[in-house]
Amino acid sequence: MSEEKNNIPKETLFSPKNKRLLSDPIGKENPITVQVLGICSVLAVTVQLRASLVLAIAVVAVMGLANVIISILRHGIPPRIRIIVQLTVVASLVILVDQVLKAFVYDVSRQLSVFVGLIITNCIIMGRLEAFALNNKVWPSFLDGVGNAAGYGSILLLVAAVRESLGSGTLMGYQVIPDFMYNIGYVDNGFMILPPMALITVGVIIWIHRHRDRALVDVS
């Protein structure tokens, strides 16, 4: 930190550059719709909003901390074994998160089953560690981690909200489709609960996102 203080134009904690680190991944640098990282879990746990929320928080925690730890260690890690070091750091953090989830929200932890463990191989985390934390100072790395995890979490919640409200007529377990709709013949779309619909929902989100932001359109 002392090194940072000697920089002549002193950077404040929330300078515009740092704010961009936090906000870009939520919009035009979104890890899921633009960088194509960390897709597996988005698709599998989004049947219910509650499980998605827990997973999103877990990923924010793991990613922020992992980025900080790798960034602190960045001068001491030999480049040849960096992947092993990163995996070890991430795996230890995920073990912590897993234990916490098992202790406090056991039912959600059962529901997420292997997907808590799979945070380790979530490519967002490895990707951001490689691309950012290894070459940047601690505070920007933390912001980058939290920003990317939030971008990931926002898509997770969006997909889960669409799937849960259309598929079971509830949000967070509370009924959102009023009873009179069912009385006049509305039926929940059971199809939305099935796994393939998660893919199609994400596909449509990408479509809308790129339609609004033409710079992202794939030209190849």
Binding site: L87, G117, L194, P196, L199, G203, W207, R210
Partner: protein, 205 residues
């Protein structure tokens, strides 16, 4: 024997890694531009899953599971190291990938040059870790069943990536709406393929 075949077929079609659990999507989307490269990656995944799942099965049942250390003596029977599962599995996977890479380089340079770049990538392919975690969750009875599950999952992943690569090669000639090109349409096709695979779901083996 019958049981092994049934696990194998089940893990290819019914519990397909990609279409039922969405594991290994990152490399599935990134490497599926041409059939040739996806065949290479597919074989590498079959190979690594076929090795890591049985090795992790042994690890789970003789070292880190609840009471698994009983073979050392009765005083070890109460030890439960299962909180170490993730870190041990990922260490085994990273080590195995490294080992497999060195072996292939030594034994078959041609295979190595075709798989070369993909092998290190596999260490962070979630289908591999997912395979081991599902193996743990489903409590397979013996190592043969675990191996059969590992190989079957690998073959299922192979079929999925080769299928999507073939479709993506063809779709280049179609007039897809511009914002949907590339990633978007790939998701939607994968979704449709998943729906097709769901027709296997009712089959009892």
């Amino acid at each position: 024997m019958e049981e092994l075949v049934s696990i194998f077929v089940k893990s290819i079609f019914i519990d397909n890694m990609v279409f039922a659990y969405f594991l290994g999507m990152c490399s599935y989307l990134a490497v599926s531009r041409t059939v040739q490269t996806s065949v290479g990656l597919g074989f590498a995944v079959i190979f690594v899953l076929g090795i890591t799942v049985p090795v992790n099965y042994l690890l789970e049942n003789y070292i880190i599971g609840r009471g698994a250390l009983a073979w050392l003596g009765p005083q070890f029977a109460a030890i439960d190291l299962s909180f170490l599962t993730f870190i041990m599995f990922i260490a085994i996977i990273a080590a195995m990938v490294q080992l497999v890479e060195m072996l292939i380089e030594k034994l078959s340079p041609t295979l190595y040059s075709s798989l070369g770049i993909f092998l290190p990538l596999i260490a962070v392919n979630c289908a591999i870790l997912g395979g081991s975690l599902f193996m743990q969750e489903r409590n397979y009875a013996n190592i043969a069943e675990a191996t059969s599950f590992g190989l079957g999952s690998g073959v299922g992943w192979f079929l999925a990536i080769v299928g999507i690569a073939a479709i993506r090669e063809k779709i280049r000639y179609s007039n897809v709406p511009a914002p949907l090109r590339g990633l978007g349409i790939t998701y939607i096709i994968t979704g449709l393929m998943g729906i097709a695979f769901m027709s296997f779901m009712g089959i009892e083996l």
